[in-house]
Symmetry: C2
Subunit: 338 residues, 2 copies
DNA sequence: AGAAAATGCGTAAACGCTTACACAAAAATC
DNA sequence: GATTTTTGTGTAAGCGTTTACGCATTTTCT
């Protein structure tokens, strides 16, 4: 605190410029001087003030992560696992993660504006669950490199990069696997989040050549308890397999199956989605649709950094769209039709 | 970018001081002027640069969160849930979370020094799993307000505040509950993390008046698979109940029980620890030891903020220790001894 | 050996805000 | 109504770095 660069440089007997060069690695400086300075800094405990530095450089090495949801803030396991991957990817590229949990109301946008316009962030990753909330948020960003992570189709609002997850590639694999094991009557427990996935499910069923029975499609659930309830409703309709739009719903279903005295997978097959770490830990372990989280994370971070580079070399910015597929993870919650 | 405070203040027809006052809320300014300035700022899109501001204020409104582990970096569900609570608590107090995943080697300490000495952080929360790694890390912090979060006894290295979780209060409740349901022969699957909990387990057993049989205590496991393996080893010794040092281990045990044809809780009772969100979602749902995560988080954040206040009012800093107890969460994985 | 190029370092002007201090105008006091 | 107090605003000196530019000194080239 007491020790600033001018004090310190005097102690070492060089100019502030030289000290700055020693720390930044930029500019011309002899190896000998650099080492002497760094050594001395360690000895007396001098560390350059990051704010002064950032004020000059206009770089912060911080990337923001925003979760923007139309409904109440959801920071669930799914998002936590994603956040973790993003943090890892950021770190690998020398960036720190600035995690911002979405707050209620429109203060969200104000906050985002403050951070991006105020130059606190080098870039921003926004995870959205739907058009409405996301688009509004994006507008408050303007010049700052941004990427939108979504699992719904998203066409750019501005110059943002979009990283889009296609949950249906993995779902299709799952349905095909079920079909190959003799299942024809496949039910679906949909999620309320993100606009639901049942339209995609129906499309896939048709593509695979299976009949879609709306009676065994349940719309809009969220929680473990919803999964239980939905399964309870569905079971009397005698599907031989049920797909669930999230792993949590599948766990609820699994639980209710056991409560109703049905064995999984002997009596009924169950598939989740998201491949949360816990999906492998249920009994029986849950077949699910895996999400290449680390790839999503890496793509997002890399996109920001390359936008930053382009900015530096004055290249024009353009929006781009990366679509990343999901994949099927077979485990023991499915089996041949009984 | 193009618009700085002096440009902007000219446009509005006031001085930079007045603009600064309008944004910061500090200093004397008439309501009318403030509103006019804020309104105009919104119109033309002016946001104060945070770095310039922080350079002056020496406050960043950012709190760092470090995980320091002696072994390989573990950022598991347990830590994720804790991190989430800390992020929430920080946000509630107007602080942003700077999440730093621990990296390999000693670059960790360098990084920490850089952030704290470089004034990038208002305070730092270090989650440690043992004395050795933590103490070394703490030494690199010096003046910056720090709190250590731990589940092992920790005596201060410097002026840090320690928030200590006592996992044994909840464990004792669990053992007492088991005892009251007729269980006497209680096994224990210990964790390898954090130095283990079996000593505490034995103490509790003795306090409750139950015999400790070392043959049904298994030391040092980590993963789901370890839980399975440990249960497999333990079952032939016929304990009527098993405590597991983490929920993950308990899930492994639950799974293996089912694999061996044992019913939980009819044939054997099972208790986990940590109360991860998922513990409620197993079949049967897992009795466990709950951790007041939000209280830990709040205590940690509040400690930092109060250290900051004390610093401002020149009060002397002193170390302090908050011990927070855990509690028993009974669910359906336990029942009377058969 | 002399000219040209490269290297190492210092000086000083930014970077964009905050705030102590000064001062005029308005409000409160007697 | 004169004096004191309070309020609102401006001036300008920081905050602690970075880096363009300039000048020696050293190295390279012919």
């Amino acid at each position: 605190m007491a020790l600033d660069i001018v004090e310190f440089s005097k102690q070492v007997g060089v100019s502030t410029a030289t000290v700055s060069r020693a720390f930044s690695g930029r500019g011309r400086i002899s190896d000998k001087t650099r080492e002497r300075i760094l050594e001395e800094a360690r000895r007396v405990g001098f560390t350059p003030n990051v704010h002064a530095s950032r004020l000059n450089l206009k770089r912060t090495s911080q990337i923001g992560l925003f979760y923007s949801f139309s409904e109440e803030p959801i920071f669930d396991y799914y998002n936590m696992e994603l956040a973790q991957e993003i943090a890892k990817a950021a770190e690998k590229r020398g960036q720190a993660l600035h995690l911002e949990l979405s707050r209620s109301g429109k203060s969200n946008e104000d906050r985002l504006r403050q951070l991006t316009h105020g130059a606190a962030l080098d870039g921003i990753i926004v995870v959205v669950d739907g058009r409405a909330s996301g688009a509004r948020l994006l507008e408050s960003i303007r010049g700052c490199p941004a990427v939108v992570v979504t699992s719904k189709p998203w066409s750019p609002v501005g110059k943002e990069i979009v990283v889009e997850l296609d949950v249906f590639t993995g779902m299709a694999e799952a349905v095909r696997d079920l079909a190959s094991q003799g299942h024809e009557r496949i039910g679906f427990i949909d999620t309320a989040a993100n606009g639901g996935k049942s339209a995609g499910f129906s499309r896939i069923m048709r593509e695979v050549g299976l009949r879609v029975d709306p009676k065994i499609i349940i719309e809009g659930s969220i929680s473990f308890a919803d999964g239980q309830k939905a399964f309870h409703q569905l079971a009397p309709q005698q599907p031989s397999a049920i797909l669930c739009a999230t792993d949590i719903l599948a766990m609820g279903a699994l639980n209710e199956a056991s409560g109703m005295g049905l064995r999984v997978p002997q009596d009924i097959s169950l598939v989740g989605m998201d491949d949360l770490a816990f999906a492998a830990y249920t009994t029986p372990s849950l077949s699910t649709v895996g999400i290449p989280r680390s790839q999503i994370a890496k793509t997002a971070i890399d996109s920001i950094l390359s936008q930053l580079d382009d900015e530096e070399s004055e290249k024009p910015r353009a929006s781009a769209r990366h679509v990343i597929g999901s994949y099927y993870v077979p485990r023991s919650s499915i089996g041949p039709r009984s």
